[in-house]
Amino acid sequence: MEVSEQAAIALRQLRERLCSRTLAHSLLQFSSDNNFSKLKFHISSSISAACSKVLLLRGDKGSGKSAVVELVLKDLKAEHPDFFSVVTLYGLLHSDDDISALEEIARQLCVGHKFSFSKTVSLDENKEFLMDMLKEYGLARKTVVFVLDEFHLFTQGKQWLLYTLFDAMETFTSQSIIIIGLSCLEGSEQQLEKRVRSRFSSCTLLFGPPSEEDRRILLEQLLYLQKDPSLASKYVVEFNSRLDKIFSDKKFKEILSYVTCADGSTNHLLRFLFAASSYMDMESGFLSLQSFDSAYSLMKRQPKFASLHDLSVLELYILVCMHRLQCKEETSYNFNSVMKEYKAIQDAHKTSDNYSHAVCLRAFEHLLDRELISFTDTKGRNDSIKFRPVKLLVSSRELDSSLKANSSCPTILQKLIDHESYM
């Protein structure tokens, strides 16, 4: 078989694994004392004891909260078939009004039992339906699991949904309602209204970034090729041994630490690995250190800095002028004052870059569009651009380095900015 064909198959295998929502988290479930086993213990114990519970899962975005919930529920579904139903609500979609949330709850319950569902029924009917369903569930010894994604959004406003659920948990004896809240925002329970808060008790599971050991497991499990009938075994062995070499490389470890320094979550790591797999050399069919390196440079892209690079000379002039005004501690300045500064520079240095007022305004508008500068206030939309106060959105350090990097930048500008900063 051709190498490139094999490489294509291998790449597909890798990408399948990297793109799966839950695979990475399921790989970690066997390490001891993790959130998976805790969550499973909590849910299954409250199913078997028929008691209600609120579980709050907190952690940074991308730390795998919903993936773990998904895994646990799938696992339990296999253990106790038709023993519980799951209702999933998303804070962004269902927290703003009663109607959408209740309708969604009713819909999901109906779909779960293959009941017919009507969209047109009133809010009260849906509410009664929920209550009746909860009662029936209690009698049939079943459990309802409410998964509230973006839990912190449910803790705003009137919070009737949480109150209703918590109150139902107290009212219906010998019945289990499990509420799983997923939240990345800390202190969301502080926002609860006092009577809701009094009813609220949660056990909290904290999701953190994977440890050093976990990260190693992830890398190995995700990137090593599995034996596959369509892949030559020699190729697989070679592929894996090369990966081994890369993993032990010092440079690779450095890259990995850079990648994880700002955002150590599992999903971020997955994204990095996916980028690396895209840089796989299809000719040889192997992942190399080079591909990880280019993936890293892709990840660390600095859009703001990049947009400073390809500015025209006039735009650079305007930015420098604004910077000078800022350094003179003028609190508020607009296009006209910037132009005054520009003219002053032109008068003093007599450069070839003396443009007319209209051209400068165009450049100014261009800068506004690029969000390198912005208006200080949102009001006064009707005023002319010329008179509205503006401010600079780049720091002097960024400006300085961009001037240095720009080849067409006149030396006078650099002098000006150097002069300002070391004055």
Binding site: A49, S116, E128, Y137, E170, E186, R199, T260
Partner: protein, 776 residues
């Protein structure tokens, strides 16, 4: 046709009440079936002076009924006879609550044996005295019988081989059953000549030769015969699922199948109990049965019977009952509901609409019953956490006697006198101080007083302001509970106004005084406060007979309202103070009675902590429950059988639970930050400390971060990565930041209560970047 004589019946009854037949309780770990201490089954003094009030004269119609029944129920299934129109209770028929037959009284709600038609048993047979399976003589004082937990046969202790001295602990299974299990040939002792094995009513029922039923109503036909409407019970064998391994020998299922029987086919009382009663009834006779589930004859599925204390079920039943007594055709609707009328409906309504619900909801049930999980042996910790959960509420809240008395006198004062005057009571207190629970407990007490006839009957309505989608809907809610009709709120308001001011008839409960409990009263405050005005205005009208009890958290809610409302609210207020730590401990200990799951002083520790902060009973319960769950998880991890038995909640568990509730979660979260996030936090604390301000801009922060990085040979990853790190921290709620669009002038602020100290605590010993502690 058997016509039981009074003397015989009295014996039967004495037997069933005094004879001590232990029920089999195979799975129960609780009370152990006791000895079959049979006292002499002779006739005892009964309340024979209780003269039969209405002796039915059964001769003509009973035969008719018998024929009818025998035609329609030849199988083992107690099929409800198809009721012909002529047999339907007409308005002319008289409904009774109890009937005395012989001197046995049958009441609505009693459980009875019903004879099956065409049974071959001779009538003369006395089915009530159980005999020893070996020597075929009944038990007596000297000869104690015990019951096999498998075959339910009775044995004299002396007749066993080897004989037993006393009742053994735990389950006991006779030698015949063990032999049978081992696959050996079993020869049961033959009865002596001329004596045949007699079967008790219980045996007949379990083998399907008798039926059991629960009386729902009693009436007299125009021809003078007495009829009963009953709900049938079924044995596990008669269900679609058949007998399942976890079924108890004495287990029955209640069905939703109704049937009419003539009173003469009633044999006598039996006692069908729910699990709790059954567990308590260790030696209450042979005629007790266990019933935990309702069996739906149409869908062939099972549903647990609601607990008695369930408020909802109570309401349902009472309203149903009233419908019955008024001669409504409610009964027919209900029995029809079970039949195919719904299924054949051509247009199927949606499940979430009001009308479609009755059709769809019965489908949610188990196809097979599960083994009762409560029957399983629970560990101490599991028991504790179940007892401490908020859902398991005690019948009366401890430590609230004074307040309850006050509520009771208030309600009694309002409805007790001849003239029922409208009144208002405002109850306030912080959440979790037992306000609603106390009111409910008082209402329960009063209800039992009504039942015993001490008090005039009244109607209790409960609403909750938080559960209404808009304040106006409260009219709808109240009207629906009063009349049973759902209408729009404007119509409901109109009707209620009519009712309270003019005394216009409204549903069936109109003559009674109405006690209206409004929970979370402050949610009803609207801009022009019209809802509260209306509700509080009703009691002031003459003839309204309305008593309003409002509950809210704020002490001065009436003062916030407009004067015309606060004047109507009256001056009667009741304050629920937060619990102090002794009361909290008492509440928890009262729930943990008999469960030794906590080490000493731990409860007090938790209670003191809670009392110091809020005095919220819910919080205290939650902490203790959480601690017991933590302990359970800890024990499970140990996996050492020896340690499992004697494990109790220890200090680490309760500290963990307290930390979860009281400790700021930020610190843990900060420890989990990425490396760069930690540097950002350090730079922020450092910069804030330098400037002494509350907030700083992104520009200042970035300067600081760059200088820190260059000093400690860290690579500065660039402004955009820095911005990203800030946004992540902001998403996590550790810092507050403005939207990133503002870039350089974006304002940042720490979001912890104690500011920089928290950060210092969290990042002090960070292994990754130890130099951070220099700046904290």
């Amino acid at each position: 046709m058997e016509r039981t004589t009074p003397s015989k019946l009295s014996r039967l009854r004495s037997d069933s009440t005094l004879a001590a037949t232990p029920p089999p309780t195979p799975g129960f770990t609780g009370p152990r079936r006791s000895s079959r201490l049979l006292t002499s089954p002779g006739p005892t003094k009964l309340d024979s002076d209780d003269a039969p009030s209405s002796l039915p004269t059964p001769i003509p119609s009973s035969t008719k009924a018998k024929r009818r029944l025998s035609l329609e129920s030849p199988t083992t299934d107690p099929v409800t006879p198809i009721r012909s129109e002529s047999k339907r209770p007409k308005r002319t028929t008289v409904q009774y609550k109890k009937v005395v037959l012989g001197d046995v009284e049958f009441q609505v709600g009693d459980d009875i044996y019903v004879k099956k038609q065409g049974s071959v048993e001779s009538e003369s047979e006395d089915p009530d005295v159980e005999e020893c399976r070996v020597c075929f003589t009944p038990a007596s004082k000297s000869k104690i019988m015990i019951e096999c937990d498998d075959c339910l046969g009775g044995f004299h202790l002396q007749c066993l081989k080897p004989p037993l001295r006393k009742i053994p602990e735990g389950d006991w299974i006779c030698s015949f059953c063990t032999d049978k299990k081992d696959g050996k040939e079993v020869v049961w002792p033959e009865p002596p000549e001329g004596k045949k094995i007699k079967r008790t009513a219980r045996e007949k029922l379990l083998s399907g030769d008798l039926h059991a039923a629960c009386i729902k109503s009693i009436w007299r036909e125009t021809d003078g015969t007495y009829w009963l409407r009953c709900v049938w019970y079924r044995t596990p064998e008669e269900t679609a699922a058949g007998r399942q391994p976890h079924n108890l020998r004495r287990e029955l299922y209640r069905t939703n199948d109704y049937g009419d029987v003539v009173i003469n086919s009633v044999l006598r009382h039996c006692y069908v109990m729910n699990p709790e009663e059954y567990q308590r009834a260790s030696d209450d006779g042979d005629d007790i049965f266990y019933c935990e589930y309702e069996y739906d004859v149409n869908y062939h599925n099972f549903k647990r019977l609601p607990d008695i204390d369930d408020n909802y079920a109570e309401n349902d039943e009472s309203s149903d009952y009233e419908g019955d007594s008024d001669g409504d055709s409610d009964n027919d609707d209900r029995s029809l509901r079970g039949t195919s009328s719904n299924r054949s409906r051509s247009k199927v309504l949606a499940a979430n609409s009001r009308k479609g619900r009755a059709y769809w909801l019965p489908k949610i049930a188990e196809s097979k019953t599960q083994e009762n999980r409560k029957r399983r042996k629970q560990s101490k910790l599991e028991k504790a956490s179940a007892a401490l959960s908020l859902a398991s509420r005690p019948t009366s809240p401890p430590c609230r006697n004074k307040e309850m008395e006050e509520i009771e006198t208030f309600v009694k004062g309002a409805i007790g006198g001849q003239e029922c005057l409208g009144r208002c009571l405002y109850i306030h207190g912080v959440p979790g101080t037992g306000k609603t629970m106390s009111v409910r407990a008082v209402m329960r007490n009063l209800k039992s007083e009504v039942d015993s006839g001490v008090l005039r009957s009244f109607c209790f309505i409960e609403t909750n302001g938080m559960k209404l989608s808009s304040p106006n809907n409260i009219y709808k809610n109240i009207y629906e509970q009063l009349s049973g009709h759902a209408v729009g709120w404007k119509k409901a308001l109109h009707c209620l106004n009519e009712h309270f001011s003019n005394g216009k008839k409204l549903g069936k409960k109109d003559q009674k005084p109405i006690v209206l409990l409004i929970d979370e009263l402050d949610m009803l405050v609207t801009r022009n406060q019209s809802v509260l005005y209306n509700i509080l205005d009703w009691p002031t009208r003459p003839n309204s007979k309305l008593i309003v009890i409002g509950i809210a958290n704020t002490m001065d809610l009436p003062e916030h309202l407009s004067p015309r409302i606060s004047s109507r609210m009256g001056i009667q207020r009741l304050c629920f103070l937060p619990y102090n730590h002794e009361q909290l401990a008492q509440i928890i200990l009262s729930r943990l009675k008999g469960i030794d799951a906590f080490e000493d002083n731990l409860i007090e520790l938790a209670c003191r902590k809670v009392a110091a902060s809020s005095g919220d009973a819910r919080r205290a319960l939650q902490i203790c429950q959480r601690a017991s769950v933590l302990a359970e998880y800890r024990v499970k991890q140990i996996a050492d059988a020896k340690a499992k038995g004697k494990s109790r909640v220890c200090l680490t568990d309760i500290e963990g639970a307290l930390d979860e509730v009281f400790k700021s979660p930020h610190i843990q979260r900060m420890k989990m930050c990425s490396k760069f996030g930690k540097i950002v936090l350090t730079a922020m604390v450092n910069e804030l400390h330098r400037t002494g301000g509350e907030e700083l801009t992104f520009e200042k922060l970035s300067e600081r971060v760059i200088s820190l990085c260059s000093m400690h040979h860290e690579v500065f990853p660039g402004y955009d990565t820095l911005m990203r790190a800030c946004c992540l921290l902001g998403d996590g709620g550790i810092i507050l930041c403005e939207e990133p669009k503002k870039h350089m002038s974006q304002k940042l602020q720490l979001n912890c209560s104690s500011g920089s100290d928290d950060v210092a605590l969290a990042l002090k010993d960070c292994s990754e970047t130890p130099w951070l502690s220099l700046y904290l």
